[in-house]
């Protein structure tokens, strides 16, 4: 199946990755919901080994990254790269479909492995040890699949911004994954291993999800707005700032630990400085929107994307505050960090994927994206749910941190958290309801609009 049209996009591959991404996010959301019920002592399957809340938590996080985000990004890359480079990807018929099948096999093996008790003890890398080699091979093949068209396109001169992020991301991921999954597992124990684990946790977000995500934004935003990105030197600053400062931050996941302080100080300082680069990127995208703010009202994909950008700005600003050693005294180990993680992984990258997929789903069928009532419901339910969850967990984190510091009995910190956990479950319910509406929206937008409802907002 290589039904590529003249633009070089293999539409069945885009659609297959879209479906896989959506299937996994539904599973991931339900796993998170079940896990949250444990915190209210309402877990419906107590004493069922294969649905233990601890195991579901790992399914929630790993499914989100390896299932939802990688598939969503792959759909975007298979669409964007041929269209702005003018080059086909390395190979669709064999490599493309092999990669698709291999990724789903790896994610399903991870899901089964985690629920069966074969987790690896590294955060965001709980993928069982026997799955890791396959993911490494997959990432290297992906480097060639997406790197070759960018290389051909870049041979003759300067490249477009999206290509910088995409090619750098594809180069970083295999190295980051091998470092995080193998070195602390087999070679470096203890505190030095923790430093490497922290570097992995951070790089998985900063050197994989973030650059691929921004690469896609630099393609999709100008397409949706039908105009170029506002400032070129701003784009340069943003990219090179991210590339330099991001790899320097890993240890900020283990501040006040026995890791040498020079590594902790470097992590804190580079995290704060990175916000300057982030500001250039955000300002660049906001100025690109200037004069077309009204388009957000009717253009659902664009609204998802810009809400994601807003969430990114909030998260990064929050990051510069929470990374300070003083803040860490209170918020480290608390739900504050959980809220932060949800706003970046779901509120930013998840929202970008929702925007891209709601744009691509009709596009791959030759239809134009349109707004539907279900799409509006999906947007508002998920957005309000996510922001409320973030805010709720932020406050919960401060309450927990202060409770621990006060030396009140441990259970006191649990009792005061329960109302916050109840709100979290409620907001999670909103997100799941919104997700169902999103699926309805995707299905509707792929039907040819009937004459009477054409163009309905």
């Amino acid at each position: 199946m290589t039904t590529s049209s003249r633009d070089g996009v293999c539409r069945p591959l885009v659609w297959a990755h879209t479906l896989a991404s959506l299937a996994y996010i539904v599973i991931v959301l339900f796993a998170g919901m079940l896990y949250s019920l444990q915190f209210l002592s309402l877990f419906p399957f107590p004493n069922v080994e294969f649905l233990s809340p601890g195991r579901l938590r790992m399914l929630h996080t790993n499914g989100a990254v390896y299932g939802f985000i990688i598939n969503g990004f792959a759909a975007g890359l298979y669409w964007a790269i041929p269209r702005f480079t003018g080059q086909r990807v390395w190979n669709e018929k064999y490599v493309g479909w092999f990669m698709f099948g291999a990724l789903q096999a790896a994610v399903l093996a991870t899901a089964v492995g985690l629920l069966a008790g074969y987790a690896q003890g590294i955060e965001w890398a709980e993928t069982p040890i026997f799955v890791d080699p396959f993911i490494v091979v997959w990432l290297i093949v992906a480097l060639f699949q997406f790197g070759i068209p960018i290389y051909r396109y870049g041979k003759s001169g300067p490249m477009y911004v999206a290509a910088w992020y995409m090619v750098a991301g594809c180069v970083w991921v295999p190295m980051v994954y091998v470092m995080g999954n193998y070195i602390p597992q087999f070679f470096v124990p203890g505190i030095a291993g923790a430093a490497i684990t922290g570097t992995w946790i951070h790089d998985a977000v900063g050197l994989f999800v973030t650059p691929i995500g921004w690469g896609l934004m630099y393609y999709f935003v100008p397409i949706l707005l039908r105009k170029p990105v506002w400032g070129h030197s701003m784009s340069l600053l943003g990219f090179w700032g991210l590339a330099f400062f991001y790899p320097l931050q890993g240890v900020h996941h283990f501040l006040w630990s026995p890791i040498p302080m020079y590594a902790q100080y470097a992590a804190v300082i580079s995290t704060v400085v990175l916000e300057l680069a982030v500001v250039t990127v955000i300002v660049n995208f906001v100025l690109t929107l200037r004069g077309q703010f009204g388009q957000l009202a009717n253009d659902l994909p664009l609204r998802w994307i810009y809400t994601g950008i807003l969430n990114y700005a909030i998260t990064c600003f929050q990051c510069a505050i929470q990374v300070l050693l003083t803040s860490q005294k209170i918020i480290h180990f608390t739900d504050w960090v959980v809220g932060h993680a949800h706003l970046i992984m779901f509120g930013t990258f998840g929202f970008w994927i929702f925007g891209i997929l709601s744009y691509l789903s009709p596009k791959v069928k030759g239809l134009e994206p349109r707004s539907t009532r279900a799409g509006e419901w999906a947007y508002w339910l998920i957005t309000i749910g996510t922001i409320l969850m973030w805010f709720d967990l932020l406050i919960a984190g401060v309450v927990q941190g202060v409770s621990w510091m006060s030396l009140a009995p441990w259970m006191e910190s649990v009792r005061v958290s329960v109302p916050f956990w109840a709100i979290r479950t409620a907001t999670g319910t909103m997100i799941i309801a919104g997700m169902i509406m999103y699926l309805v929206h995707i299905a509707e937008s792929r039907r040819a609009p009937s004459a009477g409802r054409a163009g309905s907002a």
Binding site: G121, V167, P189
Partner: protein, 217 residues
């Protein structure tokens, strides 16, 4: 570099992709490794040379089950229990709700015990390291002897029955059909009772039952 060379394939792959990555990784990962490389490293078998009293107490408390799964409470059995127990700790994601790290801030020293230091992590049971990043339940790196093994058994079976209001899940599958401790319950308890047992004069050293201290040392 001129601004146009910063937009070309090779500089992006080589400078941003490789050079910056290696620089950051050196500072954040390789340098701490070099700083700490002289710490004496202990394998599980070396750790197990010191069998803590809690392990022998378990052999007294659950004689049939202990004999069935671990035989005599000797160093070989303790090494095996640590291996299995740590495996359970990872597989059940215990480390996602319990940290193994006492920080020098926020009164943690008063709540849990001595602040963590690098050499206590230089062993095979911290490969990969289990410092953790979230605390729903208390830290466990000073847990040795804070509770009895009996307490742990009852707690694994039904946490809220032991600690009212606890949100920890029940781990019924750690136990045999008749409700007596299974291999996993014994092993993970042995592992948790080991955490911090190397701290002199820590909780586990204080209350010892006479019957639990068999002859030879």
């Amino acid at each position: 570099m001129s601004s146009s060379s910063m937009e070309r394939f090779a500089p992006i792959v080589l400078v941003a992709g490789l050079l910056f990555f290696l620089f950051g990784t050196f500072w954040q990962a390789v340098a701490p490794w070099l700083s700490l490389r002289h710490l004496p490293y202990k394998s599980i078998d070396e750790i197990a040379q010191t069998v803590p009293p809690t392990f022998r107490m378990m052999a007294d408390d659950y004689p049939d089950e202990f004999k069935k799964y671990f035989g005599e409470p000797d160093t070989a059995a303790f090494a095996r229990a640590l291996r299995i127990g740590r495996g359970v700790y990872v597989a059940e994601a215990c480390w996602h709700c319990h940290t193994q790290q006492v920080r020098p801030v926020s009164n943690e020293e008063l709540r849990f015990g001595p602040v963590s230091y690098p050499s206590e992590y230089a062993n095979a049971l911290q490969l990969p390291p289990l410092l953790g990043t979230r605390r729903v339940g208390p830290d466990l790196i000073r847990e040795a002897g804070v509770h009895s093994s009996d307490w742990h058994m009852a707690h694994f079976k039904n946490p809220p029955a032991v600690t009212p209001g606890s949100v920890m899940p029940s781990y019924g599958w750690f136990f045999d059909k008749d409700g007596s401790p299974g291999e996993r319950a014994l092993a993970v308890t042995a592992y948790i009772q080991w955490l911090g047992s190397w701290i002199p004069n820590h909780a586990y050293e204080l209350p010892t039952r006479p019957a639990a201290q068999p002859e030879k040392q």
